[in-house]
């Protein structure tokens, strides 16, 4: 298991390069997700007062060794706002279907994640949000021919970006279409597109 608790991004140049490769584009994403503030707005964040629950369906992709398996997941999420545009979100996804590639069955059994969510606008209007956090994703791969079985949890940095908009008749109900990366290292990448709904209290 990748031990993120003792991970030191500055321990060697490869990890530092990995940090720079990922954090610079994410910084750019974040800066575009924030609305254009007036000169005083950096000191004027309002505390949030909403919470939400939601459902998600994920068309995932497990890429490794040149192969690409596409199992599906569905799940729940819940969160509350720390400030008007920053929320804390907890996700739980569970596999709904597996995929067979090169005689191996790929099953993303579940994924649990905790994220900071940064929104571009208020809770319900059209906008973009970015999630940064940590996920633990269990992937099981089995093969019939040689009785191969691998069931491991892949833990580490997870992030996502999505577009959202609310329904005209139900302003508290929001639809989201996005992309999420659950796990990414030099050997394996688990990501995919998500479609979901959030309800704000």
């Amino acid at each position: 298991m990748t031990n993120w608790l003792i991970c030191n991004p500055f321990s060697n140049k490869d990890t530092l390069a990995s940090v720079m490769k990922r954090s610079i584009p994410l910084l750019l994403l974040l800066s575009s997700a924030f609305p254009s503030f007036a000169a005083s707005s950096w000191t004027d964040f309002r505390l949030g007062d909403s919470s939400f629950v939601g459902v998600d369906y994920m068309f995932s992709s497990v890429k490794l060794s040149g192969e690409d398996a596409k199992p599906k997941l569905a799940g729940l999420k819940a969160g509350f706002s720390l400030y008007e545009q920053i929320s804390l979100e907890a996700d739980y996804l569970q596999g709904t279907s597996t995929d067979d590639v090169v005689g191996l069955e790929f099953d993303v059994e579940d994924s649990k994640g905790l994220y900071l969510l940064f929104k571009s606008g208020d809770d319900t209007s059209f906008g973009v949000d970015v999630t940064l956090g940590y996920a633990s994703t269990k992937l099981t791969v089995t093969g019939d021919e040689n009785d191969y079985r691998s069931s491991e949890e892949y833990n580490g940095f997870s992030w996502g970006i999505s577009f959202y908009d609310s329904f005209p008749a139900y302003k508290n109900l929001q639809m989201k279409l996005g992309y999420k990366s659950l796990y990414d290292d030099n050997n394996i990448k688990i990501d995919g597109f998500t479609l979901g709904f959030n309800y704000y209290f």
Binding site: M1, T2, W4, C7, P9, D14, T15, L16, S18, V19, M20, R22, S23, L26, L27, L30, W42, T43, D44, F45, R46, L47, D49, L64, S65, G66, E67, Y83, I86, V101, V102, G103, L104, L116, L132, G133, Y134, L139, V141, G143, E145, Y148, S150, E152, Y154, G156, F157, W159, Y183, D184, D185, N186, N187, I188
Partner: protein, 429 residues
């Protein structure tokens, strides 16, 4: 109006909130579990395609390096389908002692420090099949070198069929290794044979011909006399397009001609591409390269019909060449594109002992692009202050390379093609 919950939120706190997430971005380094899974998937994919390697060999079994000297190992594997492929980059390479010799993930070995202790470089496939190479990092002096005939294994060289030679290097400590790089191969001036930089000899003489091969490694040289005999040569042919007897090209079009040779009592077809001497009945209609790796490269120059003949070891094969199109010459240009030498430029300059490359482009009526005819123009030089050679023969990048001696002076260079000429002065400063 702000609610009672509003609070100031300094920039630094926002950054503190973001930083852990951003720093965590670098923390998904390869885990052994993901590496094992990736290997398992790779094996499954290859098994399904039949490309799983079942055995392999490494190019060398032992090598000697000096400190900081590098040597690229290569490995060839045989898969489940019986096909061979280069698997150098697919293997996992490890060194038994990185302080003496290290190896990169691509099989390049580097001598790190001198030692009497040999180092074992191990290459392993994704299924655990392994092979080893022994590496000595020692500052040894070459005592002698010897040329060894590899193919044919013994006897005379078969004219028109590639023969290969290797070099065995003996060091002052008595060890002998075959070397495959940093060798200068050459043949004597009286032979019609040629030799490549990897020790492959090409022959085409009609009669038995003796050739003296020379090889030099780290300033130590040796020679070997070999005899090429065409007595067993049965047939040669011309291979191109869909027919072996007729070729059709448009002006400016290129075609690589090939040839296969057979021996008496042997049905095997041998690759004779680099042994053939090509001749055109009318060399104004087309040009053919007769040397180097592009031997047999044909370039159509003018419309018309002619014959092209392959000659080797006293055997011939002929095909008809038909060139279509228009090649009415409108102008000749020295050099191309941005480096074209304008008509009003009378001279170019180089320093002594430097080189310059020229090309000759033929521009035809109705065509916006010129045709590089460098290789098939007639070049004349007014003095011996420069030596000349055609480089990149058989390609669109063919150049006429002039290398000056140590003497300063002036040389007049004239290039003639299809009745027109271009002249330029070369000033050696």
């Amino acid at each position: 109006m702000n609610s009672g919950k509003n609070a100031a939120w300094p920039k630094v706190k926002t950054l503190a909130l973001l930083m852990p997430g951003l720093l965590l971005a670098g923390c998904n380094s390869s885990s052994s579990e993901s590496e094992d899974l990736a290997t398992a998937v790779e094996v499954a994919a290859q098994t399904e395609k039949g490309t799983l390697i079942e055995s392999f060999t490494i190019s060398e079994s032992e090598i000697i390096l000096k400190e900081d000297e590098q040597y690229q190992l290569s490995a060839e594997g045989t898969d489940q389908n019986g096909d061979n492929r280069d698997i150098t980059q697919e293997l996992t390479w490890t060194s038994s002692n990185k302080d003496i010799a290290k190896v990169s993930s691509k099989g390049q070995v580097t001598g790190v420090s001198y030692s009497t202790e040999p180092v074992t470089i191990t290459a392993t496939t994704n299924t655990g099949i392994a092979a080893e190479v022994e590496v000595l990092v020692q500052d040894l002096t070459v005592q002698s070198v010897a040329i060894r005939q590899e193919s044919p294994a013994s006897g005379d060289v078969l004219t028109c069929i590639d023969a290969s030679f290797a070099l065995d290097v003996t060091y002052t400590n008595g060890t002998t290794f075959e070397r495959t790089s940093d060798i200068t191969w050459s043949v004597d001036d009286n032979t019609t044979a040629t030799i490549d930089s990897d020790g492959t000899l090409h022959t085409y003489s009609d009669e038995v011909e003796e050739t003296t091969i020379s090889a030099t490694y780290e300033e130590v040289s040796t020679t070997k006399k070999v005899s090429a005999d065409p007595v067993n040569l049965n047939t040669i042919d011309i291979r191109s397009q869909d027919s072996t007897t007729s070729i059709a090209l448009a002006v400016g079009e290129r075609l690589q001609l090939q040839s296969r040779a057979t021996l008496s009592g042997d049905e095997t077809e041998y690759n004779a591409d680099l042994n053939i001497n090509w001749q055109l009945t009318d060399s104004t209609l087309a040009g053919v390269t007769n040397s180097g790796a592009n031997n047999g490269q044909l370039l159509a120059l003018k419309p018309g019909i002619t014959a092209i003949t392959a000659n080797c070891g006293g055997k011939t094969a002929t095909a008809t060449l038909t060139v279509s199109g228009d090649a009415t010459l409108s102008a000749l240009t020295l050099n191309q594109g941005d480096s074209a030498i304008a008509d009003d430029v009378e001279s170019i300059s180089i320093n002594a002992e430097e080189s310059v490359e020229l090309s000759l482009d033929a521009n035809f009526d109705g065509s916006t692009t010129g045709l590089n005819v460098t290789e098939f123009a007639t070049w004349s030089i007014s003095s011996t202050l420069v030596s000349s050679e055609i480089t990149s023969a058989g390609t669109e990048d063919a150049r006429y390379k002039l290398t000056s001696t140590s003497t300063t002076g002036e040389v007049v260079i004239t290039a003639t093609y299809d009745g027109s000429s271009k002249t330029i002065k070369l000033l050696i400063e």
